[in-house]
C-alpha cells in the first residue's frame, strides 16, 4: 500500500498529465460523435453573447452582401406569385391550387423561423455557425438551416438563447440531394479542401451532366424541404474504378458572408422517425 502511494507521489505529474489528456480527449470524441460536451450550454451562452458583440461590428461590413442576397431571394419569391402568370390564349388555362387558408396551418409540414448569424468560422475542418435563437424561441436539435441562397447546415446544439449549426462545410455533414434536370439522387458532403466547393457522390455514369446544372435537396432528406438549392455543378470527376461519378459543386451559399438564415422545422419528423425506428426493430 505504501509503495502505491509512493508511486503516485513520484509520478504525480505524469499521472495528472494522463488524466487531463483522457479528460480532454473524452470531451473531444464525445463531441464528435454526439455533439454534446460538459458545460456546453453555459459556455455557448457566454461565447454567444461575446459573438453577438463582435457581430454588431462585423455585420456593418457585410450589410451590402446580406442585402443583395435577400433582394435576390425576394425576386425569386415574387416570380412565384400567381398574379405573374397569365396565358396568352384561352386554350391554356391556369389552374389555381385550392388549399384552404384556414387549413394551411394544420397541413404545414415545414415551419420557418428567421435567425441571425452571430458567429461563423470557415477556416477549420469542421465549421460551425452560432445563431441568435435558442430553446426559448423554439429551436431544437436536428432542425435544418437554409440561407437566402440555399442549404446552410443542421442545428447540433441549443442553449436557451443561442444555437450552433454544423454547416455544410463540415466533414460530418451529409445531405441527400438530386440533380434538378434528371432527378438522380446522391449524397452531398465536403472534402475539407476549399470552402467554395462541396462534393456530390453516387451519381450513375450514364447521366448527362452539364456545367452549371443545379443540385437541389431531394425528398429523402427529412430535415430539409425538397427543392432547396444546394449548389451548381462545377466539374465532373470521373473515377474509373467505380460506376459512379463524383461532382464538384460550387456551394449556393457563400458561407463567409451569410448573415440571415431560416431555421426549418419539420413538424412531421417525429412521426416519420418513430415509424422508421419501429420498422427497423421488427425487421431485425
Amino acid at each position: 500500500m505504501r509503495n502505491i502511494f509512493l508511486f503516485i507521489r513520484r509520478y504525480f505529474n505524469f499521472l495528472f498529465f494522463l488524466a487531463l489528456q483522457v479528460l480532454a480527449l473524452s470531451f473531444l470524441f464525445r463531441y464528435n460523435r454526439y455533439h454534446e460536451a460538459a458545460f456546453m450550454s453555459v459556455a455557448s451562452e457566454i461565447t454567444g453573447s461575446v459573438n453577438t458583440r463582435y457581430n454588431t461590428v462585423e455585420y456593418y461590413f457585410k450589410l451590402k452582401k446580406a442585402n443583395e442576397s435577400l433582394v435576390q431571394e425576394n425576386v425569386h419569391l415574387r416570380e412565384l406569385l400567381r398574379s405573374n402568370y397569365q396565358g396568352a390564349d384561352t386554350t391554356r388555362q391556369l389552374v389555381v391550387d385550392s388549399i384552404r387558408v384556414d387549413s394551411l396551418v394544420l397541413d404545414q409540414k415545414y415551419f420557418y423561423r428567421d435567425a441571425k448569424v452571430v458567429g461563423s468560422f470557415v477556416t477549420t475542418q469542421t465549421n460551425f455557425f452560432t445563431l441568435h435563437r435558442g430553446l426559448n424561441q423554439g429551436v431544437n436539435v436536428d432542425m435544418g438551416v437554409i440561407g437566402p441562397r440555399g442549404v446552410v447546415g443542421r442545428i447540433v446544439n441549443v442553449s436557451s438563447n443561442f444555437s450552433t449549426v454544423m454547416t455544410m462545410l463540415s466533414r460530418q455533414f451529409k445531405v441527400d440531394a438530386k440533380l434538378k434536370t434528371s432527378g438522380d439522387r446522391g449524397t452531398v458532403s465536403w472534402d475539407g479542401i476549399s470552402p467554395q466547393f462541396v462534393q456530390m457522390r453516387n451519381i450513375p455514369k450514364n447521366v448527362k451532366i452539364n456545367k452549371g446544372d443545379s443540385v437541389i435537396t431531394s425528398e429523402l432528406s427529412s430535415i430539409f424541404p425538397a427543392n432547396i438549392l444546394v449548389g451548381t455543378v462545377d466539374t465532373v470527376v470521373n473515377d474509373p474504378s467505380t460506376n459512379f461519378l463524383t461532382l464538384r459543386l460550387r456551394s449556393a451559399t457563400n458561407f463567409s458572408t451569410v448573415q440571415h438564415v431560416y431555421i426549418v422545422q419539420n413538424k412531421q419528423l417525429e412521426e416519420q422517425r418513430m415509424l422508421e425506428a419501429n420498422t427497423r426493430k421488427t425487421n431485425e
Binding site: 498529465f17 487531463l20 480532454a24 480527449l25 473524452s26 461565447t47 463582435y54 477556416t123 460551425f128 463567409s256
Partner: protein
C-alpha cells in the same frame, strides 16, 4: 503590472485575438490555420508549478475550444506542451538559477538561440498533436505532414511578430528586492 493581473489580461487577449482576428482570416489554403494562442502557455512564469501549469493550460485550451466548438481539441494540445515545457526549460536554460532570477521564458532570460529552440519544439509538438487528432478522423499522411509544416511556419512568423511588437523586458530579480 502585477504578474497575476498581467497573465489574466493575456488570457483573454490571446483568446480574443485568436478567435476574432486569426480565425476570421479568409482561408488561404487548407493547410494554413494561423495559430498564435498557445504562446500564452509559453509565456507563463517559471514560478508556476508543473501541476498548476497543466491546470491553467487545460482551462485555457478549453475556453478557446468553447469558442471554436471543438471541445477538448486545443485543451489536449495545450496540456501536452504545458507538460513538456519544464523539461525543455531545464535543458535549455542558459545559466544556473536563471529560473529564480527571471520571471518567464523570453529572449532576455534564456538567450536568443535557446529561446528560439524552445519555441520551435513546443510549436511543433502543439501542431503535431493537434493535427494528429484531426488526422485520426480523416485525411492521410501527406495531409498530416503538410499541415504541420505549413501551420508551424505561419505560427513561427506570428510569434516573431508578436515578440517584436511586445518586447518583454524581464528585469533581473535579486534577493534584496
Amino acid at each position: 503590472m502585477n504578474d497575476l493581473l498581467k497573465n489574466i489580461f493575456r488570457f483573454f487577449a490571446f483568446i480574443l485575438v485568436q478567435v476574432y482576428i486569426l480565425h476570421k482570416i479568409p482561408p488561404l489554403h487548407r493547410f494554413i490555420v494561423p495559430y498564435l494562442y498557445f504562446l500564452y502557455v509559453l509565456w507563463l512564469p517559471f514560478s508556476l508549478g508543473r501541476t498548476w501549469l497543466m491546470i491553467v493550460a487545460f482551462v485555457y485550451g478549453l475556453s478557446l475550444d468553447y469558442f471554436l466548438l471543438t471541445p477538448g481539441l486545443h485543451a489536449a494540445a495545450c496540456v501536452l506542451i504545458a507538460y513538456v515545457r519544464p523539461f525543455l526549460v531545464n535543458i535549455l536554460i542558459r545559466q544556473e538559477g536563471a529560473e529564480q532570477s527571471y520571471g518567464a521564458p523570453s529572449i532576455h532570460s534564456m538567450g536568443l538561440a535557446p529561446y528560439s529552440l524552445f519555441v520551435l519544439v513546443l510549436t511543433l509538438l502543439h501542431h503535431g498533436y493537434l493535427v494528429f487528432l484531426e488526422w485520426m478522423e480523416f485525411g492521410n499522411f501527406w495531409y498530416f505532414l503538410g499541415k504541420v509544416g505549413a501551420t508551424t511556419a505561419v505560427s513561427l512568423l506570428l510569434i516573431l511578430i508578436t515578440e517584436l511588437l511586445f518586447y518583454r523586458k524581464e528585469r533581473y530579480r535579486t534577493n534584496t528586492a
